[in-house]
Amino acid sequence: MKTKNLIFFGLISSFFLIFLVFIWKILATLQGLNIQNFNLQIVFIFGLLISFANLRIGNKIKIFYKSIIFSLIFVICDGYIIQKLPLWYNVGIFLVLYFFINKINKYSFEDLKQEHSTQVIFFDFLTLFGILFFSFVILFPFYMMLITSFKTQIALLVNPLDFSINFTQDLRDLFNSYFVIFKSYKFGKYIITSSIVSIGTVFITLFFAIPAAYAIARLNFIGKTFLSTSILIIYMFPAIVLVIPLYTIFSQLGLRNSIWGLLIVYTATTLPVAIYMLQGYFKSIPKELEEAAIMDKLSWFGIISKIIVPLSIPAISSVALYVFMIAWNEFLFSLMFLDNPNSFTLSRAIQYLSGDAETPRQYLMAGSVIVTLPVLFIFVYFEKYLVSGLTAGSVKG
C-alpha cells in the first residue's frame, strides 16, 4: 500500500513539474529563444528524483536551502549542460523549480501512509494544475492581442514566434498601429459613436427601468404576473429572430445607419435585464419607509426619486455598468443596421477593417485592444458589484 502511494506521488508530482517547465518553455520560445524540443524525459526523471529526495530528507534541512540546492542542480544540468540557454531563461526555470519544491514540501512519509492519500494528492495537484492551465489558456489570447498590436508587419511575417517587444525604439514607432488606426481609419470617431450609443442606452434604459421595476415590485395592477413573466420571456427571446423584421421596419422608417435606431434596439434588449435586476433589489427595501412617505402625501414620483433611488444607488450603478457593457460589446445589430462607415460603432468598424484582406493584422489587434480595454477596466475595477449582479440577473450572451 505504501509503495503504491509513493509511486503515485512521484508520478503525479513529476507530471506537474513537466507541465510547469512546458509552460515556461513555450513562453521562452515566444520570446525568440530557439527551443526545438522540451526534453521532457529529463524533466520527468528529475521530477521523480527531486520528489523522492525531498521525502527522504524531510525537515532535516531548512526548506529554503533545500529548494535552492535542488533548483540549482536542475538548472545546471538542464539549462547549461544540456541546452546552453541564456541567463534569463535559467532564472525563470530556477523560480519554477523553487515554486515546485515549496509545493511538494508539505507531503511527508506520514501523509502518504494515511487513508485516501492518493486521492488527496490527486486533488491537490489537480487544483494547482487547473489554476495554471486556466490562467494560461485565458490570458494567452489577451497577451497575444496586446503584443501583436506593437509589432510591425515584417516582424510578424519573418518570425511569428517572436513575441518580444523592442522597447529601445522610438515611442512613435512602438505605438505606430494606434497612430495609424486613429489617423487613416478614423477610430476616434468610432470611439465617440460607441460611447454616445452606450451611455445613451444606459440613461434611456434606467429612465424606463426604474419606474417599471418599482411598479412590479410594489404596486398591484391587472396583468402584473403576465407582465413580469413576459419580461423573462422577452429576455430569453433570440435576437437573431428579431433582426429581419427590425431591418425591414427600420429601412422603411429611415432609422438604419442612425444612432437613434441603435438606441431604440439596445434599450429594448437591455430593458428586461435591467427591470429584472432592479425589481429584485427594490423588493428588499423595507416597505415602512414608503408608508411614512405616503402619510406625508408624497406622490409616486416623489417616492421613487426621494426614497427608492437614493437607497438603491449600488444596484442602479451595477445595472448601469451592465447595460453599458452589453451596449458596448453588441455586434449583431450594429452589423445589420450600419453599412455607412460614418455611423459605425467600434465593433462594426473592426469587423469592417477585417473585411479588407489587405489590412495588416497589427491594426486589427490595435483596434481590438481599444475596444477591449474599457470593458476589462470597468470589470476589474467594479468587480465586486458586477459579480453579484451576474448571478442575480445574468447577462445575455
Binding site: 485565458i138 492581442m145 430569453m236 429581419i244 460589446n329 455586434f331 449583431l332 459579480v387
Partner: protein
C-alpha cells in the same frame, strides 16, 4: 415619371413557398445537425469546465479573487476582439499555434483549423472523420461561455453547508466520494437551469460563428442561415422563414425540457 406601389409590409398577399423551400431543402438535415452539434457540445463543454473551475476556485489559495476575475475575462470582453485574436492564433500561414507546433515538430504541415471541414483521425485502428472547423468553433464557444457556468456553480458551491463535509470526514469518506455523493447532488438543480439557458442561447448564437468562419467549411448553423438568406442573398422572406423555424424548434425544446424536469421533480 411618377408611380405608386403597395407597401410590401402592408399588403395581404401571403405564401407558404418559403417554408417549403426551407424545410425540403437538401441541406436542411445537415443544417439541423450542425446546429445541434454546435449547441449541444458547446453547452455540455462549458458546463463541465464550469464545474472544474468552480471546484478549483472554491478551494483556498493565494490570489483567489484575482483568479476569479481572470476566469470571467472571456465572458465580458467584446466578441469581435476575441474572435479576431483567435483567428490570428489559429491562422495556418503564420498563426502562433501552428508555428509553435511546427517548431516543436509535432506536425509537419500547418493545419487550417478554421478552414478545413474534415480531418482524418486514426484511433486504435479505426478511422474517424472529425468535423475540424466545427470542433474549433465549439472550442471557442466553450472558452467564451464557461465563465457563466463557473459563476452560477461557484455561487451554489459556496452555499453548501460545511457540516455536510465535516460529517463525511468523520465517516472517513474519500475526496472522490465527497464530490460525487455531496457536491454533485447539490449542484444538479443549478446545472439543469444552466443547461437550458445555455442551450437556448447557443442555439441562437450568431456572432461567434459568423466572425470566426462566416459559416464556411461545415459550420453553417441556423442563425448563420438566417443571415445568409436574408442579407447575403437578400431574400427577406426566406430569412424570416428560417427565423420562424428557429422559434418553433426552441419552443419544442422548452416544452420537452419542462416536461422532463417536471417528471423528475415528481419522482423525488
Amino acid at each position: 415619371m411618377n408611380g405608386t406601389s403597395d407597401n410590401i409590409l402592408l399588403n395581404t398577399t401571403f405564401t407558404l413557398k418559403n417554408f417549403k423551400k426551407v424545410l425540403f431543402d437538401d441541406e436542411f438535415v445537415e443544417l439541423l445537425l450542425t446546429t445541434f452539434y454546435y449547441t449541444f457540445f458547446g453547452t455540455v463543454g462549458s458546463i463541465i469546465f464550469g464545474i472544474l473551475t468552480a471546484q478549483m476556485v472554491n478551494q483556498k489559495f493565494y490570489g483567489r479573487t484575482f483568479m476569479r476575475s481572470v476566469l470571467l475575462f472571456p465572458y465580458v470582453a467584446p466578441v469581435v476582439a476575441l474572435a479576431y485574436t483567435w483567428e490570428l492564433l489559429l491562422d495556418p500561414n503564420s498563426g502562433t499555434l501552428n508555428s509553435l507546433l511546427i517548431n516543436y515538430q509535432v506536425i509537419e504541415t500547418p493545419i487550417n483549423l478554421l478552414g478545413q471541414k474534415y480531418i482524418e483521425i486514426n484511433i486504435l485502428g479505426f478511422d474517424f472523420k472529425l468535423r475540424l472547423a466545427l470542433t474549433t468553433v465549439i472550442m471557442f464557444e466553450i472558452w467564451r461561455y464557461f465563465p457563466l457556468a463557473f459563476l452560477f456553480i461557484l455561487a451554489r458551491l459556496q452555499a453548501i453547508p460545511k457540516e455536510l463535509y465535516e460529517a463525511a470526514d468523520v465517516d472517513g469518506a474519500s475526496p472522490f466520494q465527497k464530490f460525487f455523493k455531496i457536491t454533485l447532488p447539490q449542484i444538479t438543480a443549478v446545472i439543469s437551469i444552466l443547461f437550458m439557458i445555455r442551450f437556448i442561447w447557443n442555439f441562437n448564437k450568431f456572432e461567434d460563428v459568423f466572425l470566426l468562419t462566416g459559416g464556411a467549411s461545415g459550420t453553417r448553423t441556423l442563425p448563420i442561415n438566417v443571415y445568409q438568406q436574408g442579407f447575403a442573398i437578400s431574400d427577406i422572406g426566406m430569412g424570416s422563414a428560417v427565423s420562424i423555424v428557429i422559434v418553433v424548434l426552441l419552443l419544442l425544446f422548452m416544452f420537452f425540457y419542462f416536461k422532463l424536469l417536471g417528471k423528475r421533480v415528481d419522482e423525488n
